[in-house]
Symmetry: none
DNA sequence: TGCCATTTTGACGAAATCTTGACCCCTGCA
DNA sequence: TGCAGGGGTCAAGATTTCGTCAAAATGGCA
């Protein structure tokens, strides 16, 4: 699976140019023409990186950036036509990871994309996440409990990944919902009950009693139980 | 303790300029004039970030970068006089985290430094509130007395958190009620009796007598008993 | 098109938690 | 001695949150 990049720009010519260039470098490209579409596509296609233009028809790039930073940690490279200090500082301080002024050089953009992706890899994408007997291999996309494979759906997989990343730290309901279903679903606590129920059942059928590693703190959130 | 930055440049004027500017922004500055000194200082003073000039007398910046990347993951911002694509790509692909061309704008440099430091701050310090033998881990949402776990409900947890934040200072009834139950419930003093009763009971069953750490000042409020 | 895996929704009992009221104690005071 | 106010304790509802099951909707994909 190639690395997916979301390109947000209202000018078709620039989008096409970036699409062709990025695809020539083995990236998969998702396009958005405005802020709302960008946030929508971000939830749908979970890209590994976002290239965000400053000037958009419905809301400006900074607003999009602030919105997505409420729940996403995806790397963002900001693009702009103007070379203004204030804009740069504003973007970088609001969560942009890099900033390029148009016209930019393609090799430089590619190099900066590699840097951004390198960063997010080292921070989050360790090939194997594990906690106690529960482990998850992000390369093969497989998960095991005590070396017994669990057949998880992709949503179940994402939930386990989220808990594993937090170790024995408690993850609040709303944070889970935001991460997995997007900021619109912050209220749907019922999802959590259903999905953690399914996951517990699969854990139990792998190793009876294993479902207990998923703990609930009533009214607050879920966490993994530290190894006894 | 301030964040430490290693500035590597052979030109004294630029080093001084950066030193003054960085110190004005609450950073601590360590200087090096050449590649060998840079690697030396990196080991000695363990900075949180390196600003590395491309042209150095003994070895060029790329070589320094490659060397330090053999064992260090410290963020590196590359500086150069020439605006060359090849140089940029080479630096970024060899482990530089950002790249700026002289003359650069100071606000932009500061913003990019903040980004780099933000990136490297992956692990947060575990926020533990404690007073005497009572402690509360806000990451795991667990509480202990003398290392015995107390199974608190979320409201009980919030109450203990409130008392812990005030240390041995007295917290008035109305303040507690407003914080936990909202401004509508400022009159319901009965809640406090019931809840602190429950908490005392849980403390006692963890360590007999421990319930006494919650003291009441008649007609005024509650507080934690200073350590004997 | 129809099938299948998955996601979303609804329903319901169980568990945990919160709220309320009854009753006790103690203290200070008339 | 009686009584009022504040505090502590207990336990019975009331309410919220959980866990579970299963039906309906959705979305690829042959």
């Amino acid at each position: 699976m190639n690395t997916k990049i979301l390109v947000v720009d209202d000018e078709t010519s620039i989008r096409k140019f970036l699409k062709v260039s990025l695809e020539a470098n083995q990236f998969e490209v998702v396009e958005a023409q405005n802020g709302h579409e960008a946030l929508q596509k971000l939830i749908e296609s979970k890209p590994s990186l976002v290239i965000l233009d400053h000037g958009l028809p419905d809301m400006n790039g900074i607003e999009v950036l602030k919105k997505l930073r409420e729940w996403s940690t995806v790397p963002v490279i900001f693009l702009t036509v103007r070379d203004s200090d204030e804009e740069k500082v504003e973007a970088l301080d609001n969560g942009a990871d890099d900033y390029l002024t148009k016209p930019f050089s393609l090799p430089e953009l590619m190099a900066r994309i590699r840097v951004a992706i390198r960063h997010s890899k080292t921070e989050e994408t360790q090939p194997v996440l594990a906690f106690g007997k529960l482990s998850l291999n992000q390369a093969t996309h497989k998960s095991t409990y005590a070396d017994v494979e669990l057949k998880l759906t992709s949503t179940e997989y994402d939930l386990i990944k989220l808990l594993l990343r937090s170790g024995e730290k408690l993850v609040p309901h709303r944070m889970i919902l935001k991460e997995i279903w997007g900021p619109h679903s912050v209220e749907h606590n019922h999802y959590l009950r259903v999905y953690f129920g399914q996951i517990r059942k699969k854990l139990d059928s792998a190793v009876p009693g294993a479902g207990e590693i998923i703990e609930n703190e009533s009214g607050v959130g879920y966490r993994l139980k530290p190894i006894a």
